[in-house]
């Protein structure tokens, strides 16, 4: 067997593996709608997340009868869960106003799709971390399966977080972002130190100090950049003027008659 045959075998093997993996996920419960939900929201703001569940009896949900459950950290989470049949008609509906819901899914009862929506307020957050934004995230929706034997398994891709912020924290984060970028552009160590200080302030929840420190870091970078730019332009101007004077001097010299005889 030469190398062409062996490489062909490898390619075939890879294709087979890809096909098997894809087939494994085709049967999973499909959740659509998180794309339209907000990524971030201010603390106290009311947000809604709406999704539609299809393929309710896939490979990862082997039972024909199971319980769908949902959780949310949103304040006063107001759920609306509608189970529909193949024709899209409502078969079952729950709308509890608390932190979780449960609804039975049954193939025999012709349960085909589920529409879920939750509306609630972004709660206060206690911890801030500039470098690890997950700390600032609120669980907006988590969908899970309760099997007949009472096991709880989170559905694949069934979790959605919303980044929470306050007005101060957002301003401070933006200021730090800008200052960080400016410090990296200018490759300034002192500005980087200032940015680190600002991040420490941010993580401690002292947003005003964080924003001030970040802004002053950015200003110092910009002013030093301006000075540098001014120097460059000044130098260029001096060179240009020098060249000009040289050219004029050369021209005037060349215009002078140098004839010895006439």
């Amino acid at each position: 067997m030469n190398w062409i045959h062996s490489s062909r075998a490898v390619v075939l093997g890879v294709l087979l593996a890809v096909a098997l993996l894809t087939a494994g996920t085709v049967g999973a419960v499909q959740i659509a709608g998180f794309d339209d939900a907000p990524d971030s929201a201010e603390v106290g703001e009311e947000v809604s997340v709406e999704v539609e569940l299809t393929d309710l009896y896939g490979d990862n949900v082997p039972d024909d009868e199971w319980t769908l459950t949902g959780d949310s950290e949103l304040g006063g989470a107001d759920w609306t869960v509608i189970v529909r049949d193949a024709g899209g008609d409502e078969v079952d509906r729950v709308d509890p106003v608390n932190e979780s819901f449960e609804v039975g899914i049954d193939r025999d009862a012709n349960h085909v799709t589920v529409d879920i929506s939750v509306t609630g307020d972004i709660p206060e957050i206690d911890e801030f971390d500039y470098e690890d934004p997950e700390v600032e995230e609120i669980l907006a929706m988590e969908l899970a399966q309760l099997t007949a034997d009472g096991d709880r398994a989170t559905l694949a891709d069934g979790t959605y977080y919303i980044h929470a912020y306050t007005e101060e924290s957002r301003e401070a984060r933006t200021a730090i972002d800008d200052a960080h970028e400016a410090a990296e552009d200018a490759d300034s160590d002192s500005a980087r130190d200032d940015v680190d200080d600002a991040i420490t302030f941010y993580n401690n929840g002292e947003f005003e100090s964080a924003a001030n420190t970040a802004n002053s870091a950015q200003e110092s970078v910009e002013s030093s950049q301006q000075t540098r730019q001014l120097l460059i332009f000044g130098g260029a101007a001096v060179v240009v003027v020098g060249l000009l004077v040289g050219v004029i001097y050369y021209w005037r010299e060349s215009q002078k008659p140098t004839s010895k005889l006439q």
Binding site: K260, L261, Q262
Partner: protein, 390 residues
């Protein structure tokens, strides 16, 4: 030829100033040192190229820096008194590097006219280098006193220098030109002529060396016999060939003979025009004791035959066998001939100048004699009845 130039008086200072400008502009390297001497502070301040430390103001005790007012006897006296101040400036000149001194002066004025012969006498006593004079004669319309000054100074100056090169303003004055423009043009003419003549032997780095070099000794020997000299000059614009070009090599093959003939004719014609029509001091060239011919121009426009014919023609015309000649290659589209005629005798202009000077002298004497009588008759009353106070 490297010269130490001393400009005496207003005209002399200006001409030396021009020489410096010419030297810097053309790089001919003839002015080794330049000194300006004057009794008038304003004239010294008007110079542009003479270094400050080489400007010597003399006679401050007598005339307070205001000049001698065309009194050349006073100019001579002051120079005699303050000769050490002039010598002080000359002491800074590296005399071992120069070939000759050249004292430049207008002969019609006061300071230069009176002082330059005194300085010449002084320099000749101290140095072994030849001392030449360049004297500028005033125009005949400039007035009797200037003519008288010039005639007297000329006599003395010729006696004191090794050779006096003369430039006659009268021959060069054109009608209708401004005072400043007129003198500036005349000074340009002076500088160009003597610049070509004295610059001929000075070869710098990268210059072409002449076929027949006019060395400073040639000039010195031509001027050696003393007396009065005049310089003739004429130039013509020519097309400069690009001798290194491929095209010109093809071209020149066909036209070589014709060009040689043209070049020869051009040179002889220039020599004739220079000697007969364009002398600094118009004179009869017959009887000139010695002559020197310098033909200058792009090397391809100079040829030995032309120069030899020009030289021969000069021998015939002057009747002198002592005619030297050479070439001075320069890279510019002009061909010029400069003729130095030394020991010229037949100069009608000098005779005319002397005649006018004699008349002026007589007139002055007469007026001076009458002056006392006239004043007396004016001041005294007829019957002498009045007495003076004391």
């Amino acid at each position: 030829m490297k010269l130490a130039m001393i400009g005496f008086g207003q005209a002399g200072g200006k001409i030396v100033d021009k020489f410096l400008e010419y030297d810097a502009r053309t790089g001919s390297g003839i002015v080794q040192a330049a000194i300006a001497v004057n009794t008038a502070r304003a004239d010294l301040m008007g110079l542009q190229n003479v270094p400050q430390e080489s400007r010597v103001l003399i006679g401050q005790a007598r005339v307070k820096g205001h000049g001698v007012g065309a009194d050349n006897e006073l100019g001579a006296e002051i120079t005699e008194e303050d000769i050490d101040e002039v010598q002080g400036a000359i002491d800074n000149v590296p005399v071992h590097e120069i070939d000759a001194f050249l004292i430049v002066a207008g002969l019609g004025g006061g300071t230069g006219s009176g002082g330059s012969p005194v300085l010449a006498k002084h320099l000749k006593r101290i140095y072994t280098e030849p001392v030449y004079g360049l004297g500028v004669l005033p125009g005949s319309d400039e007035g009797g006193i200037y003519t008288l000054n010039a005639a007297r100074s000329f006599q003395t100056f010729v006696r004191e220098v090794d050779n006096l090169l003369v430039f006659d303003n009268d021959a060069w004055r054109k009608t209708g030109e401004s005072v400043e423009g007129g003198y500036a043009e005349i000074n340009d003419e002076i500088v160009r002529r003597f610049g070509v003549m004295f610059g001929a032997g000075e070869v710098g780095l990268g210059d072409d060396v002449a076929e027949s070099v006019v060395d400073s000794s040639e000039i010195i020997n031509t001027l050696a016999g003393g007396g009065v000299s005049t310089v003739g000059y004429d130039a013509e614009t020519v097309e400069e060939y690009n001798s290194g070009g491929l095209l010109s090599r093809f071209k020149s093959n066909n036209k070589d003979d014709m060009q040689t003939a043209n070049t020869t004719n051009r040179i002889t014609s220039l020599v004739r025009k220079a000697a007969l029509g364009r002398l600094t001091l118009p004179c009869e060239i017959e009887g000139a004791e010695r002559a020197l011919l310098v033909v200058s121009g792009p090397p391809e426009h100079l040829n030995r035959k032309g120069i030899e014919r020009g030289r021969k023609w000069l021998e015939e015309q002057t009747g002198s066998m002592e005619v030297r000649g050479g070439d001075y290659p320069v890279h510019e589209p002009n061909v010029a001939a400069a003729v130095l005629l030394s020991g010229v005798h037949n100069v009608p202009r000098i005779k005319e100048l002397q005649q006018v000077a004699i008349e002026a002298q007589e007139n002055i004497d007469e007026i001076q004699k009458e002056s006392e009588e006239n004043l007396e008759s004016l001041v005294e009353d007829n019957e002498d009845e009045l007495d003076p106070l004391f």
